[in-house]
Amino acid sequence: MGEVNAGGALDRREVVKTLLTGRKNLLVVTGLGSPSYDVMAAGDHDNNYYLWAAMGSAAMVGLGLATAKPDHSVLVVTGDGEMLMGMGALATIATRRPANLTIAVLDNGHFGETGMQVSHAGMGVHLDKVAQSCGFGWTREIRDMAGVEDLRTRVSSRDGVKLATIKVKAENPPRLLPPRDGVYVKNRFRAALGHAPI
């Protein structure tokens, strides 16, 4: 690959742990693959909703949740490959402008789950610029931990829809698997918000 400008120098586990430090009522949705393991590694939580399938859907789950729960902050943690698959969702989300939704794209420029093939992001597509063009209120490309710390404070501000592309190393840390029982995770998540099962 050599000249391919894919990903960055940040440690994805450190990034996610920092983003989730001190979380209170934060609601977290993860895209399938490594972001789910990263969020799990930072500590399983009743307010985590892990996607194991429906690739491309994480941002839209975040939009639906943010719309239904305007008094909570919602953070979507996903990868560049997952976000690329649902890029139209950025246009949909921009038309809704949910003030309490933040999308953090862990961008290693590769499809890490399937053998580290270079992704579109690794070939030069800037997801933060796509979101900016769609009309997101705040977008950034983050390459250092100071930027991650800044994002952590913004996640809870609920002052406009945000997307950050966070440039992380192209590597697969040891997998920490979240629960795969979707009904369990759903009911646990809803119960934590006070919603009973049917």
């Binding site: 859907s57 939009l63 949909t92 049917i198």
Partner: protein, 178 residues
């Protein structure tokens, strides 16, 4: 074909919205379609409903899962061609069993001028069934309200995926040359 939904035999267009509203639907997500134009207009005008236009139908499945995580009900309006876009994403409903209510206007099932619509239109109901979605179809105006009411009940009371198909006989032949 009029999209206004005010003509004789067109009351079902209002029924779709009224039934969704009565089912406490707070989110109507859609890919635009002439058959759904009345429900979409009414949803857009209703301040108690979040009306969300999608770029592709599968976005709606993610959205409605998220809304339900937050404790609220919704419905997805789309065309039969859009069902094809949703197939893999239906795994989300299958594995988490959130209530998923879909209303699908049919193309390629009767009097279809554009044969390119036929492959997906002919496969729509079986494709939904293969993915575990319960289906009903309405070809007569008086069937829309009771079938949609029943579908909504089974979706929201049974954490099921339910789809009502609105046939081309109901919607009317598309006039290609005006």
């Amino acid at each position: 074909m009029s999209d206004a939904g005010e003509g004789p035999g067109q009351a079902w267009r209002q029924d779709v919205f009224d039934i969704l509203k009565a089912a406490d639907v707070k989110h109507i997500v859609y890919v635009p379609d002439a058959g759904h134009s009345t429900a979409i207009r009414l949803a857009n005008e209703d301040n108690a409903i979040n009306s969300v236009v999608l770029t592709t139908e599968e976005e709606g499945i993610g959205y409605l899962a998220g809304a339900w995580l937050g404790g609220e009900r919704g419905a997805l309006l789309m065309q039969s061609s859009g069902v094809g876009n949703c197939i893999n994403t239906l795994a989300l409903q299958t594995c988490t069993r959130f209530p998923l209510l879909m209303v699908v206007t049919m193309r390629g099932d009767w009097a279809e001028f554009n044969g390119w619509q036929n492959p997906m239109g002919q496969a729509t109901e079986r494709a939904l069934n293969l993915m575990g979605v319960l289906t009903w179809r309405a070809d007569e105006p008086q069937d829309v309200a009771p079938l949609l009411r029943g579908a909504a009940s089974m979706a929201f009371n049974g954490d099921s995926a339910c789809a009502l198909l609105l046939g081309q006989r109901l919607i009317g032949e598309k006039q290609w040359v005006k």
